[in-house]
Symmetry: C2
Subunit: 269 residues, 2 copies
């Protein structure tokens, strides 16, 4: 316990699946770790080595897993909690801070732990890149699972965000336990966004067997998505050019620099 | 021109600034490129080498730059268009597809060009990671520049998305040419999201001199942001724990698994 002050937790994103999409900073912390904690298929991506203990757990124990990571760090371990994609997008980062908030009531010293989050390529941005640039204008990221919020709130969000004219990316669009909700989501989207708006189903993005399908909302069927699919709905200006799908940077009817290229739109940050 | 069929364009994300956040796949294509095209400070990040021509241009010529990249690829060059962050988020990917749509009218062969987008760590996700997990629940990404859309539409979007209860990340929050608009945006946000909702200003994320400030919306001032700042507004449940800011995965009042950890929330994709 003499080296307790050296413990840390890093919540790290492994990206969508392709190892060439893991940022070098994540590989660096993995090389320094004593323990890796995570959902079974993500931990399976970590190469075993001497001095590294792998703790794989099921996907229904996020807070338990996060508490375990904090406990080990408090004992001086160097712990990496692995998530797919980006840990801050519907993944383990919030679960660790929830566990920190709860656990620090009994163990205030946890608030002094060295906790860092390292970002990763989140599935919606890998899917967008794979098809073109459907998220090239304002967009929203929405988790369709009703484990997290009442389904009525999901519908309300789809309606308001569609009315606002944003493109949308959906995580966890469909599961066996709620087969009818995604059909209902498509109905809401058709009403809010228009039947001609393009929807893209991206399954196993960057992995072997990647499948990508784009159709107008009027032709979208619930069985085009499963839990391994990220779904992207464009805005009313989202279009095809050749084999690509993209959303123009400009709102329709507001294209002062479209022909001349004299409009600054590339972000400065 | 014999190798014209070998030309390609890759639109690649360089991440927020730290070189350890550039994915290996981007380094691979840069190693194969004959030409790099981009905004001056992004091209400055590319190491010169024999056989590689760097084409740096100002940030008001996105479509010209994109057209140049397509033209060079049509001539057999291997061209990387560099963006900061993720090229599909308020950056060059959509500009390239706009240029492709326009240019292919005169040169239909452009539609057969090999064009790929490689994602990167976008500024909002790097900023979120740096402070904790403020985007851990549903969220929207909105470009506040009115070069792209009428300001009235920006306000309407802030209002609807705030009403929907999503967290928001803002790119290009403030510029010299429109100093008053961000003040107006803060007013709209206070009304739509509540004065106590936390807002984070993240400047020069992952770069030397990174500055991060979190305050309640009631204490937010326009001069806390400039064009090098990404701004994140949480939802009404976003909170502090120790030095961190995070948004719980669950909507308020819908936390079936918060204590027991028996709720699946980690995405499967």
């Amino acid at each position: 316990m003499n080296d307790a002050q050296k413990g840390w937790v890093v919540i790290a994103g492994l990206g969508p699946g392709d190892e060439r999409m893991v940022i070098p900073e994540v590989q660096e912390v993995l090389a320094e770790a004593t323990d890796v904690v995570g959902y079974i298929p993500y931990v399976a991506r970590i190469a075993p080595r001497a001095g590294l203990t792998l703790h794989a757990s099921d996907n229904r124990v996020e807070v338990d897993r996060a508490t375990q990571a904090l406990q080990m760090a408090a004992e001086g371990k160097r712990v990496v909690v692995v998530s797919s994609g980006d840990p801050g997008v519907f993944a383990m980062a919030s679960a660790v801070f929830e566990a920190l908030e709860d656990g620090s009531k009994a163990q205030p010293a946890w608030l002094d732990l060295d906790i860092r989050v390292l970002p990763g390529i989140t599935a919606m941005l890998a899917a967008a890149a794979a098809i073109g640039a459907p998220l090239g204008h304002d967009f929203a990221a929405i988790n369709l699972s009703d484990n997290l919020k009442p389904w009525e709130l999901v519908e309300r969000r789809l309606q308001l965000v569609g009315e606002a004219g944003l493109a949308m990316a959906f995580y966890n669009p469909r599961s066996k336990s709620r087969p009818h909700q995604f059909a209902r989501a498509l109905d809401v989207l058709r009403a809010a966004c228009g039947a001609e708006t393009l929807i893209t189903f991206a399954r196993d993005v960057t992995k072997p067997g990647q499948e990508i399908l784009t159709v107008p909302l009027k032709d979208a069927r619930p069985d085009m998505a499963d839990m391994r699919t990220v779904v992207i709905v464009g805005n009313r200006d989202t279009r095809r050019v050749g084999p690509y799908v993209y959303t123009p940077r400009f709102a329709p009817g507001h294209q002062p620099g479209h022909q001349t290229g004299q409009t600054p739109t590339d972000k400065d940050t």
